[in-house]
Amino acid sequence: MHLKLQIWRQAGPTAPGAFEHYDMANVSPDMSFLEMIDVLNEQLLADGKEPIAFDHDCREGICGSCSMMINGRAHGPERGTATCQLHMRKFSDGDSIVVEPWRAAAFPIVKDLAVDRSAFDRIIEAGGYISVSTGSAPDANLIPVPKEVSETAMDAAQCIGCAACVAACPNGAAQLFTAAKMSHLNLLPQGQPERYERAVAMVEEMEKHFGSCTNHGECEAACPKEISIDFIAMMNRDYVKAQLKNRRLLGQTS
């Protein structure tokens, strides 16, 4: 395959950036998208030009490092697929491909296609956990969890933290990530004691960094784990309830 690439190059967070054009010949359809960039980088090096910087690690779609806007879509054209699992057979000979970093005010550019997503860590640090010091846990089967609850918590928990949801959102909002992380814990019996504090802490931290949600739903379409925006509704409900809930009565089950 022969491809015409336009790739965003930017030396650092404050440096001006621009698209560079690269022609790639002999691209094998069996290559992954990142392997295609690897090959381009080898060519650049041979020509004495600095390789393109990009985040990547596991290349199995689970670590959430890779992060490329491909033709204006977070992680490219294939649904439910992270950039590292996208293969060149999804493109055609002669295609033009535009590659950009995640575009969001909360994610400053590190270099070229790599961005700083530590704002996500701040949201988890604010309350995205269940407080249980090592050694203080009861026997695991003392906490029965209905299978449907466990499965739904897992649907949310499989978020890989790649931030495609933010990149795809016209507002640069992080509702899908925050909701997935929060719902995972708020759905489970173990998560109940801190449920409402968690909702408040995570939402308020999120709002320090990110834009607001206006229900476009682009996040769900971009998510490589196809996480449902239903979780955003759950988060909003818990956040509203948290304002009114009498927490002294939380031990009551009905």
């Binding site: 069996d30 290559m31 596991c58 590190v110 997503r117 860590d121 407080s131 090592t134 933290g161 173990q190």
Partner: protein, 642 residues
């Protein structure tokens, strides 16, 4: 070969069931109010590092966490699929701590330290409790209680799982506990920093030097103790199932500062990975071993057969595992399945465009059970395969081939997980301790979390308590300045070569040498070849490497160059260890040492020891320190799967 002094694992005395509890009683303690007077450096944020840092922070120690990732949550533990073992006996099938201990020692082909393995089995049950309380969404039965799977090498169901993403969920649990401590200020996080040197002072580990991957700044960190939880070295083979950044630099730097590296030749090959598709392949992807429950492995009887699978009639197919191992068939252990596949490919029976795989065929199972059942069992794996290869495994057989995915060797540690350098602790895959010569499935996650949640927090006070009232060595001390300078010099050296070849080119070449000569099957001859070729390639590396850019920026080629430079040295030790071990055991298969049936043949009279290597200079002969292994509980037997 230079033989040094014997190593002592400091295993507590007493019956094996009581060693750990007695030891916890015997260790010196630091009282709760004094814990904040100690600073501990933890390098690596995978299961072992994150769980250790979180647990130490909870206890009240001041912790510095260093990771090269942008977020601790991205460490490679996240990619583990299958599950985590624990001796809960929730299924009433006769499991016990002793059985898990027994299976692990035997599965490790009798090359692990019994006392460590027993402790691992003991704390396995606490790990599950801890993780469930954190909210890890393990698979459950309809009654709401935890479900288990069975896994290779065990006759009981003791594997807990969270779909095919168990590693991810366990790591997120540990990461969230860590995040809480970061928020509370007990753990200080330094992300995107690469540890490039260990600092020692008067023989003790007192700090590390890092390079910021963003700005290139060199930082010194000083503490009362240093904990390395930096993972394994599979990427020395270039193509492995490890993440691209996984590397051996931290343990290799520590080794060069005096820490002994034990059993580096114990590497594990996983039989069911997707074969490389072209020369640009950057890594290999593992497909869960569970596929072998319903898939049949075969090749054409005719070498060099170019026909597509569908055109090869049934009687011209060779189901070689079923033929050679009628009792276990397609379910023989990992090492045996891997070597059998290699033999078929080497003899010209390989399939696929590059003739580098064997078929794993589901046609019969689909016919017997229906497509729906197969889809239910393996749907996500089939989808992953289709995404990578563009072939539909419901219609065409999958192509698989073995790949490196775990390394049992690592820095030598004693029972307290302390290396021979006082104050240097090593956890998880980075140490050598619990899996012997072969790791059983679903045991890596268990060991990483055992070390981090339960072992280190209990043992580290034994080292710290006597230091009460002392300050960590100041980063103004000359030992730090020297270590910083050596990092700067090496970085300059890498940038200054200005040769013609890329770091990836050298890494691939090194990978080929070790895979061809020190991979699934090793001979004295192949190992000697590697021992000639590695130093030659290393010389070329230092003459002809080309790294562009500068040191004061985000420079990914420079990061990789430093890691490959370390692999160039590490690889030689790995091969040297394989050459010295004149026996076959677990993942170390020496062709000269096999039974008549072609199985690994141990030499317990001469090699029942852990080999701890002491560094004596690049290209110099290392010194061997032996730790004799005693098997008082699990009796030495030969494994057989016929």
């Amino acid at each position: 070969m230079k033989i040094g002094s014997e190593l002592d694992g400091n295993v507590p005395s007493g019956a094996i069931e009581t060693k750990w509890s007695q030891h916890k009683f015997d260790v010196k303690l630091v009282n709760p109010a004094n814990k904040r007077k100690f600073r501990v450096l933890v390098v690596g944020s995978g299961l072992a590092g994150a769980s250790a840092a979180a647990s130490l922070g909870e206890l009240g120690y001041q912790v510095t966490m260093i990771t090269y990732h942008d977020s601790p949550r991205r460490a490679h533990s996240i990619a583990a699929q299958g599950g985590i073992n624990a001796a809960k006996n929730y299924h009433n099938d006769g499991d016990s701590v002793y059985r898990l201990f027994y299976d692990t020692v035997k599965g490790g082909d009798f090359r692990a330290r019994e006392a460590n393995v027993h402790r691992l089995a003991e704390v396995s049950v606490n790990i599950i409790d801890q993780c469930v309380a954190q909210g890890v969404p393990f698979g459950r039965e309809y009654g709401g209680l935890l479900d288990n799977r069975s896994f290779g090498g065990a006759q009981v169901s003791r594997t807990f799982y969270a779909r095919g993403q168990t590693g991810q969920q366990l790591l997120l649990g540990a990461y969230q506990a860590l995040a809480k401590q970061i928020h509370l200020g007990t753990v200080e996080l330094h992300n995107r920093e690469d540890m490039l040197e260990l600092v020692t002072h008067e023989g003790r580990a007192v700090g590390v030097i890092t390079r910021s991957l963003i700005t290139g700044e060199i930082h010194s960190y000083s503490g009362h103790a240093v904990v390395l939880a930096t993972g394994g070295y599979s990427n020395v083979f270039f193509l492995s199932t490890n993440a691209k950044q996984s590397n051996a630099s931290a343990i290799w730097r520590a080794h060069k500062k005096g820490a002994y590296l034990a059993n580096p030749c114990y590497t594990q090959i996983h039989p069911t990975c997707i074969p490389a598709s072209d020369e640009f392949q950057s890594k290999l992807t593992l497909m869960s071993e569970s596929l072998r429950n319903d898939g049949r492995i075969w090749v054409s009887k005719e070498a060099g057969d170019g026909r597509p699978a569908g055109q090869i009639p049934e009687d011209e197919r060779d189901y070689y595992l079923e033929r050679r191992y009628p009792a276990f068939g397609n379910l023989v252990p990992r090492d045996i399945a891997s070597r059998a596949a290699k033999r078929e490919v080497d003899e010209g029976h390989g399939v696929g465009p590059l003739k580098n795989g064997v078929y794993l065929d589901f046609a019969e199972s689909i016919g017997r059970l229906g497509r729906h059942t197969i889809e239910e069992r393996y749907g996500n794996l089939f989808q992953m395969y289709e995404r990578i290869t563009g072939e539909d495994p419901y219609v065409m057989p999958m192509r698989i081939y073995p790949a490196v995915h775990y390394t049992m060797g690592g820095l030598w540690v004693d029972y307290d997980l302390m290396s021979n350098i006082p104050g240097l602790y090593v956890l998880g895959e980075a140490n050598f301790s619990d899996h012997g010569a072969n790791r059983l499935g679903a045991s890596a996650l268990m060991q990483g979390l055992a070390d981090g949640y339960f072992v280190l927090p209990a043992t580290i006070s034994n080292y710290l308590a006597p230091q009460l009232g002392t300050q960590p060595v100041s980063t103004d001390d000359p030992v730090f300045a020297e270590a910083e300078q050596s990092v700067r010099d090496r970085t300059q050296q890498l940038l200054g070569i200005n040769g013609s070849r890329s770091v990836d080119w050298f890494h691939r070449e090194l990978g080929k040498i070790v895979w061809d000569n020190c991979g699934m099957a090793r001979t004295a001859e192949s190992l000697d070849t590697a021992l000639r070729e590695i130093p030659a390639l290393r010389d070329e590396f230092w003459k002809d490497l080309r790294v562009l850019g500068d040191e004061e920026s985000f420079n990914q080629s420079l990061e990789r160059a430093a890691r490959v430079a370390d692999y160039m040295e590490f690889a030689e030790l790995m091969v040297y260890d394989a050459r010295h071990r004149e026996e076959s055991c677990g993942g170390h298969f020496r062709v000269e040492h096999q039974t008549e049936e072609g199985e690994a043949k141990r030499d317990d009279d001469n090699f029942a020891y852990a080999a701890g290597w002491e560094f004596s200079g690049v290209g110099e002969e290392p010194t061997l320190h032996k730790e004799p292994l005693h098997f008082d509980y699990v009796h030495l037997t030969q494994r057989s799967y016929k």
